[in-house]
Amino acid sequence: MNAVPILELDGISIAFGGLKALSNVCFRVEKGEIFSVIGPNGAGKTTLFNIVSGVYRPQSGTVKLSGTPVTGEPPNRLAARGLSRSFQNLQIFARMSAAENVMVGRHLKESRNVAAHLLGLGGRDNRASRARAMDLLALIGLAGDADTPAGALPYGAAKRLEIARALATEPALLLLDEPAAGCNPVETGEIEEVIRRIAAMGITVVLVEHDMKLVMRISDRIHVLNYGETLAEGRPQDIRTHPKVVEAYLGRHGSREAAHA
């Protein structure tokens, strides 16, 4: 391959109590790719995201971002390195408006001079962040809800809000954990459109998703986990028919969906 991969995992393992959630997981994500991680419930996908984004620290293995080892760095430092994510279990700021949620994503781009903020000198940042937030809300189709308290948004909207918020950090690498959960096929189509646009901006996307139509349509490559171990990796057309994947994960329904894509 050509350049340094934007994300490189090597021998990642973690256990909770006696339960091995991930063992020896390795993969590389190239810059500009849409890379999907799929696998049965409890396979370790979210755990993998938690490790990559620094929420958990792996018991062994290394994480490299664009060639730099970052294993165990706290999430806020990783964010500064251009990594952002959304959450499977919603983590929106429920008491803030939708626009403010996205503005928080601008944190690293804003001044952090507390004294200046106390003195009311944060106005410039506020205006810039607000403008950017409105753009992003428009991107995900929530422009009309800018001043709605985020806690009052329906589930699907809140999931999209998380994407906008993550985008506000201007990431190079974006991890999306089940962005289409709770969306009907039409809405999933809209999410797909949003992801494509994100990719078009040059942002590398790592996607966890159970909607096979979406995954098969959009992914450049797919990595399959099962019981914390790698089951397969490859292009959608290979994964779709991979016997082990079909057996452990896709089943009839998944195969049908995947075939439809």
């Binding site: 419930n41 589930y155 009907n184 096929p185 189509g189 159970h210 998944g254």
Partner: protein, 237 residues
């Protein structure tokens, strides 16, 4: 014509000043599977919450087995046979998986509880393997299984399902729909909210389509599946 189990009439409900349900009427007959489809924020969850009694209503009525239950507290409705798998799973995170299931049968006093628990474990073997651990550690999909299992433990007459397939691996989606279909054989009536509209309607007898707090279409499931407007708006075909 089987008897009417659930009759929702002109239900109105609001969050603050925002009306989420603007006069919704729905009927579910005993032994049926009825699906409710609709977009984000259409009011599906609100309707199920109102039926269970955890959402205040400001107009309309809910009748269950002929009895007006509109003013009944939630636990009294559970006692009458209404169970719900809520949106977002809502498991008892610090409690063990086994305790979660046991609490599903909170209102029951019969001797078949242990047997039912085994049945749930059979449906979802992962749960059995981890039954003594706190439910909060489960993955999203595993929690969804637990929520389903917990609702089954109450042996409901009417099971309200709010997006039961959300976050489940495809292979389990098959399974969940099979389970729902099989509930019918066991005499459980199901009112199903699903984003996976095609799958939901394909196992349902009848269906409703809700749009911004109002029922927009209703009819036989097959005819809804064939309806062009529904196909375009919700099935993405």
């Amino acid at each position: 014509m089987p008897e009417t189990l659930l009759e929702v009439d002109g239900l109105v409900s609001a969050y603050g000043r925002v009306k989420a349900l603007k006069g919704v009427s729905v009927t579910v007959r005993a032994g049926e599977i009825v699906s409710l489809v609709g977009g984000n924020g259409a009011g599906k969850t609100t309707l199920l919450r109102a039926i269970s009694g955890v959402q205040p209503v400001i107009g309309g009525s809910v009748r269950f087995l002929g009895e007006d239950v509109t003013r009944l507290v939630p636990h009294a409705r559970v006692a009458r046979g209404i169970a719900q798998v809520p949106e977002g799973r809502q498991i008892f995170a610090p409690l063990s998986i086994e305790d979660n299931l046991r609490l599903g049968a909170y209102r029951r006093r019969d001797g078949a509880i242990a047997a039912d628990m085994d049945a749930v474990y059979e449906l979802f073997p992962v749960l059995k393997a981890r039954r003594a651990t706190p439910a909060g550690g489960l993955s999203g999909g595993q929690q969804q299984m637990l929520a389903m299992g917990r609702a089954l433990m109450s042996r409901p007459k009417l099971l309200l399902l709010d997006e039961p397939s959300m976050g489940l691996a495809p292979i389990l989606v098959d399974q969940i729909f099979e389970i729902i279909a099989s509930l019918k054989q066991r005499g459980v009536t199901v009112f199903l909210v699903e984003q996976n509209a095609a799958a939901a309607l394909s196992i349902a007898d009848r269906g409703y389509v809700i749009e911004t707090g109002k029922i927009a279409h209703e009819g036989e499931a097959a005819s809804l599946l064939a309806d062009d407007r529904v196909r375009a708006a919700y099935l993405g075909i």
